[in-house]
Every structure is written in structure tokens, then in C-alpha cells.
């Protein structure tokens, strides 16, 4: 119900003002941790995932080049991929590397795939395992 005053409305009492401050504080307390912090963290977590994606791409591309020269799934190819991953700050033991076929004759395609399950967690929202992968196809340069 709306109250009407003849002249100016009465100045807010001390109790009213305390109430206002309380509302603003409650809003800040709710909005900052529940909305702003998760949004900022989402950006950070996403950045980390994209970094991993870039490292996987670089590793798979370098591995594919090496595989074309070796013409097979060799220790050199796998070492090259592991080097690229650890240079990018990823533990090579966590990655799964597939090189198909194991032996390729001249002109045959070779597929190199690097996969990893990256953990992404945002406080208050959740935690997921995000599967990331990179794949390149090249052609064997080795005549057998």
C-alpha cells in the first residue's frame, strides 16, 4: 500500500539506511563469488585448454613430419612427439599417440593422432574431463 505525505517525504531513519547497506553488501557477497569469479575462472580454464590444444597440434604435426620421413611408427617419431609435448608443459605419459599404419610404403598415407584427457574445473560450477585431440595425415617418403 502506498503512503502519501502532504509535503516532503520524511528523511530515511537510521534503521532504513542500515537496511540499504545490508542489501548492497548481500548483493556484493552473492554476485562477486557466484557470478564474477566463476566467469573469470572460466576464462582462465578455457585459456589453459586452448594452450593444451595448441601443444597437441604442434606435437602431432611434428610427429607426422617425422613419420613421413621414417615411413613407419618408430621410436624416433614417438620421441619427437614426446619432446614437443614436454616442451609445451604436458607430461607425455598422459598422452595417447596413435600412428597408422605401423609401416607405410612410399606414397601411402600415415595418420598421427595425439589425444589427452584434460581436467577442467570451475569452482561452484563443476569439473569435467575434456577430451582433446590433434591429428595430421601425411605421406610416406620411404621406398621399401
Amino acid at each position: 500500500m502506498r503512503r502519501r505525505w502532504a509535503g516532503r517525504p520524511p528523511a530515511p531513519t537510521r534503521a532504513d539506511r542500515r537496511g540499504e547497506w545490508g542489501v548492497a553488501t548481500v548483493e556484493a557477497v552473492l554476485v562477486v563469488p557466484l557470478v564474477l569469479v566463476p566467469i573469470l575462472l572460466a576464462v582462465v580454464v578455457f585459456g589453459r585448454l586452448e594452450h593444451t590444444r595448441l601443444v597437441l597440434d604442434a606435437a602431432a604435426a611434428a610427429g607426422a613430419r617425422q613419420a613421413a620421413v621414417a615411413g613407419a611408427d618408430t621410436a624416433t617419431v614417438r620421441a619427437r612427439i614426446a619432446d614437443e609435448l614436454s616442451d609445451g608443459g604436458i607430461d607425455p605419459a598422459r598422452a595417447r599417440v596413435t600412428i597408422e599404419p605401423a609401416v607405410a610404403d612410399w606414397g601411402d598415407p600415415i595418420r598421427v593422432r595425439v589425444e589427452i584427457g584434460e581436467q577442467a574445473s570451475i569452482p561452484f560450477i563443476g569439473s569435467w574431463s575434456v577430451p582433446l585431440s590433434a591429428e595430421f595425415v601425411t605421406r610416406s617418403e620411404v621406398t621399401r
Binding site: R2, P9, P12, D16, E20, V23, A24, E27, V31, V35, L36, I39, A42, V43, F46, G47, E50, R53, L54, D57, A58, A61, A64, R65, A68, G107, P109, R113, A134, E135, F136, V137, T138, R139, E141
Partner: protein, 163 residues
């Protein structure tokens, strides 16, 4: 209700109605631009890989006769297209057209003489395969930010056969 109280209510509405959707759109845009740039990097690597693979189409008889290396143009172009499609297929979930369609529409130039690369503009000193391709990419997060989710990226790349 006093004027002061109306003011308080307004503040709550600002948070609920303006701030939250704006932040969501900003977040979607940040993530969309990030994934677009990562996709661009990946496409560049895929185009490079296709061009590099195509430089295997050397004219073997000319090489055996002791001539400087030269590419068999039709073979190099076919290889570039084939391996562009094979590599793009690994990213097919982010593409708005099939890998084969995109590769079929690619502009591929094989240059044996010296000169300027018509696609990248670089000077050519060895037989070169150059590729320009328009890739329609699907970025669902752009749709969340109220923009068209399909962005067409035009990318170029080249590789030279050197001995």
C-alpha cells in the same frame, strides 16, 4: 514506498537484468575468439602439411637425368587437394562444409620457375606448391553472443621442394 527504497530495487534489477546477460555475452565472445584463433592455427598447420606433402610429386626422370628438381604440376595439385581434405577431416566437427568440398574449392598453384608466388606474394626460388582455401568454420559460441555462428576464414600456405 520511499524514493530511497525504489532506488534499492533498481540496483537489484541492474544486476539481474543488465550485468548478468552482458557478462554472459562477454564470456561467450572471449571463448569464441579464443577458439577461432586456435582453429586458425590448426588450419594453417593443415594447409602447410598438405603443401609439404604435395612437394613429393617431383619429376623423378628429370631428377635422374641430373636436372634441377621440378614438380609434376597435375600430380602436385592432386596431392595437395587430397591431403588438404585428409587433414581437414580431422577437424570436421568445426567445419560448416565437408572436408572434401572445402578442399575441392581450394585454389592451388604449382610454380616451377622463379618469380613471385601468386598466392602468398613471397619470392620463389625452388619449385613451390601454394594453397589458398576458404574454410567455413562453425563456432557455436558466436551464436550464443548473438552473432552468426559461421565464420569464413581465408587461409594461405605454401611449401617448396629443395634439394
Amino acid at each position: 514506498m520511499s524514493r530511497d527504497r525504489r532506488g534499492e530495487r533498481g540496483q537489484v534489477a541492474v544486476y539481474a537484468v543488465v550485468l548478468f546477460p552482458v557478462l554472459t555475452v562477454v564470456l561467450a565472445l572471449v571463448l569464441a575468439v579464443g577458439s577461432l584463433e586456435v582453429l586458425r592455427t590448426r588450419l594453417r598447420a593443415q594447409i602447410d602439411m598438405a603443401a609439404l606433402t604435395a612437394t613429393q610429386a617431383l619429376d623423378v626422370s628429370a631428377l635422374a637425368a641430373g636436372d634441377p628438381p621440378r614438380l609434376v604440376e597435375s600430380q602436385a595439385e592432386a596431392l595437395a587437394r587430397e591431403y588438404l581434405a585428409r587433414n581437414l577431416a580431422a577437424t570436421s566437427d568445426l567445419l560448416a562444409a565437408s572436408a572434401a568440398e572445402i578442399a575441392a574449392g581450394a585454389e592451388i598453384v604449382v610454380t616451377n620457375g622463379r618469380g613471385t608466388d601468386p598466392i602468398t606474394g613471397a619470392s620463389i626460388e625452388a619449385p613451390t606448391v601454394s594453397i589458398r582455401v576458404r574454410v567455413p568454420a562453425r563456432i557455436p559460441l558466436l551464436g550464443l553472443a548473438g552473432l552468426s555462428p559461421i565464420v569464413t576464414l581465408t587461409m594461405t600456405g605454401s611449401a617448396a621442394a629443395r634439394t
